[in-house]
Amino acid sequence: MKTTVDLLPIGAKATILNVDLDKIPLKLLEMGCLPDNDLEIIQIAPLGDPIYLNVNNGSHLAIRKETAREIEVEIHEK
């Protein structure tokens, strides 16, 4: 199922389909947020934002919801 990262629950795993280049900083790509890479939602901060991810199997980072909205993913079926 296609969705965006801000809508994923804790523990969800997904594959990145597309990132909106004009809205996503290069730094995020360099940390592994690239099409075809996998990601997992590790934790969502108590107030719903930011989101803590494991991208490309080992790159752990936190991003804000507004950025997460620009990353399109395909959820892995359980």
């Binding site: 290069l26 690239l34 804000r64």
Partner: protein
């Protein structure tokens, strides 16, 4: 064989243990300075290698890639692009974390494209077993065209091997490990033909980055090869994808991870430390612990230092022949140095906590927890680091705001950080609190004095948040930005790293502030013990005359009168009297006024200034602490100078006033304009004056 000098650059992502490798290679043999013109910290160390080779080791700022997004990262690129730089490395050592190889190798492939001899250090190899990681080193060395050294700084493994490898740097391959120019063959072919003598990757960096490149006119390359901003960005993205493809393929064969063997401490700790209740409770507990250490634990060594310097001054006065020079030493220099040394326990505690929080990986969790809350006030989760560091000193704190990507959030953070009670304010608070708040315990538990100090900290913090809120509403800045924070794995902080950090930071603080305090106390002493001829020289005869008329015969009283008459008519007395009308409504006499004014050089000067003024003004040489002298100060009508109202007024003034020239200078540097530091100066000091005025008028 003669000694040969080589230069080694340590390069790597943040959180790879690069600085641990640096510390292991150099020990305490390091110099910390700044790059010329900018405030990026430059760490250079020295190491003796086999074969009589001496290495200058440069610890470059951590960077995720060669696409710079901050001045710290710019330093790395500018050095690596400039072969004429004195510190251009003979060999680059790229440090990576074994648990994060995939991401760390991105930078490595870029460095390889610069054709510098490169060694790959895979650090934290002690984590391989618990994480079930195995590496095929010969395969990786072949694919990455490099030598790999496995290091564990925690276990002290691999450093000797690394030294040997550095010595052999001439045998290293300088060939790139992938060909990134395939992302746009036509474009790069044209570029290559136009500049046949230049490295293609260098040209590409010059086109995409805002860096200086000596040999070539950047405009020349740009004008003929420029593309639209979004085209360039697309190409950079393609480049990144290309590099990751190569890395993912290489690691698929060269690295095996057996997740069945992996123990996962990280996710367990994360569940607790970022929990919606425990997470905040733990953070609050840690803050309390930090304050406890500053308020309570450090008071013992501080009292000892205070007394020692008082004894020392008295000893010097008794032992040296009386005269100008002795006075300078016992009244100017020794109390001045004492005023600096007394800080060491508190500064050391603060830097100890801050470096443990950073090293352990906990700070990132705090950033994560606090981001949403801080954003309400126009700050970022990353503002937590400057705000906490601000309790040590605003200068490094303001510099640490650099990794806040959003300019408005960064600017607000820099503007409000000076409200946080820095360690320089502590001695001022400590001495005034000791004078006006009784040494009692509330409910037999909380010390009243400790609670007052806590209130002052909260006041500073509250003011920082409040002004951030106001600034957020009133600043009309359009910023397009984002927020990315790396969540590193938890690590037990290495003792050596923490110790070196605490020692270096404390040293820098003591010597930096020390120079100012020392110079000021000598100047103040001179101004206090000299005066315009007429009244100053005749002080003795004038006072004796007056005593005769009043039929005063007490020798002590007369001696006291003489010294205070002299002080009043010294240069400093004249200056002090002239500013008295401005500070009188706040409840200060002219001596406090001098101390407040000299505090603009650095707040901690307050105590030293009063010490110098009072020791010049007292005739007897019996040893006594600054506090005793302040307590004994009275107005001509016998009322205490440091009464409750004056004390509260002073506390409030120091809590809010922008009083540190170095902080203003750093804000000017970081914002690149005088506008912001001037706004800070006027707004903060004006606010301080008004609150102090109200407090004194209400309480007196």
């Amino acid at each position: 064989m003669s000694i040969q000098n080589i230069t080694v650059a340590l390069i790597g992502n943040p959180n790879t243990g690069k600085t641990s490798v640096f510390n292991q290679l150099t020990g305490l043999n390091q110099q910390v300075g700044n790059y010329p013109g900018i405030t990026v910290e430059k760490k250079l160390g020295f190491s003796k290698l086999p074969n009589n080779i001496k290495a200058n080791i440069l610890d470059l700022p951590g960077t995720y890639s060669l696409n710079a997004s901050s001045i710290d990262e710019n330093v790395v690129i500018e050095l690596l692009l400039n072969k004429n730089d004195k510190l251009y490395p003979d060999v680059a050592v790229v440090v990576t974390d074994v648990e994060n190889l995939k991401r760390n190798l991105l930078l490595f492939t870029q460095i390889k494209d610069l054709e510098i001899p490169t060694i790959l250090v895979i650090n934290m190899t002690d984590r391989m077993k618990p994480k079930g990681i195995t590496l095929d080193i010969p395969y990786l060395e072949e694919q990455l065209k490099t030598k790999i050294v496995l290091v564990s700084t925690r276990k002290g493994i691999g450093i000797e091997e690394l030294k040997k490898q550095i010595v052999e740097y001439k045998s290293l391959s300088t060939e790139p490990c992938l060909n990134a120019s395939v992302i746009d063959v036509e474009y790069f072919d044209k570029l290559r033909k136009a500049f046949p003598n230049q490295l293609l990757y260098k040209l590409w960096l010059v086109i995409t980055q805002d860096v200086n490149f000596l040999n070539l006119d950047r405009n020349e390359i740009r004008s003929s090869f420029t593309k639209s901003h979004s085209d360039l960005k697309r190409l950079q993205q393609k480049e990144t994808i290309k590099r990751y493809q190569f890395i993912n393929e290489t690691l698929k064969i060269g690295q095996k991870i057996d997740t069945a063997n992996a123990t996962d401490l990280r996710s367990k700790l994360d569940k607790v430390l970022t929990h919606k209740i425990f997470g905040y409770a733990i953070f609050f507990g840690i803050l309390l612990l930090i304050f406890q250490s500053i308020f309570d634990w450090s008071s013992v060594p501080m009292e000892f230092i205070d007394q020692t310097f008082a004894d020392l001054a008295a000893y010097a006065k008794n032992q040296l022949p009386p005269g100008e020079f002795t006075n300078l030493i016992s009244e100017g220099i020794i109390p001045g140095i004492g005023g600096i040394v007394i800080f060491i326990p508190q500064i050391a505690f603060l830097f100890l906590f801050i470096s443990v929080l950073e090293e352990s990986g906990y700070m990132s969790r705090v950033v994560f927890l606090m981001d949403k809350i801080m954003r309400r006030y126009g700050l970022s989760g990353k503002s937590v680091v400057p705000l906490i560091s601000g309790t040590a000193c605003a200068i490094p704190a303001i510099m640490s705001a650099r990794n806040i990507e959003n300019w408005k959030e960064r600017l607000i953070t820099m503007l409000v950080t000076p409200f946080i009670t820095c360690s320089a304010r502590l001695p001022v608070y400590a001495i005034i609190i000791a004078l006006i708040i009784p040494e009692k315990r509330l409910l037999g538990l909380f010390s009243l004095q400790g609670a007052t100090l806590m209130i002052l900290y909260l006041l500073g913090f509250g003011m920082a948040i409040f002004s951030a809120f106001i600034l957020n509403k009133s600043l009309k800045l359009k910023t397009k930005s984002y927020f990315v924070v790396e969540m590193p794995n938890y690590k037990l902080p290495l003792f050596k790293n923490v110790a070196i950090n605490v020692i270096e930071k404390t040293k820098a603080f003591v010597f930096g502030a020390g120079k100012i305090i020392l110079a000021l106390s000598v100047i103040l002493w001179f101004l206090g013990s000299h005066g315009p001829k007429k009244d100053f020289v005749k002080a003795e005869s004038i006072v004796l005359e007056k005593a005769k008329i009043e039929k005063q015969t007490d020798a002590n009283y007369i001696a006291d009168e003489i010294s205070s008459y002299k002080l009043e008519h010294s240069y400093i007395g004249i200056i002090g009297k002239s500013i008295e009308p401005i500070i009188r409504p706040l409840g200060y006499d002219w001596k406090i006024g001098i101390a407040v004014v000299s505090s603009f050089a650095a707040r901690e000067v307050f105590v030293g200034t009063l010490a110098t003024i009072y020791s010049v003004g007292s005739h007897n040489s019996e040893e006594t602490t600054i506090k005793n002298r302040m307590e004994a100060e009275v107005y001509p009508d016998g009322k205490k100078v440091f009464n409750f109202a004056t004390g509260v007024s002073l506390l409030l003034f120091y809590a809010f006033a922008m009083q540190c020239i170095s902080t203003l200078a750093i804000v000017k540097k970081e914002t690149n304009s005088w506008k912001w530091p001037l706004i800070q100066l006027v707004f903060m000091s004006g606010f301080a004056y008004i609150t102090a005025l109200i407090a004194f008028q209400v309480l007196k």
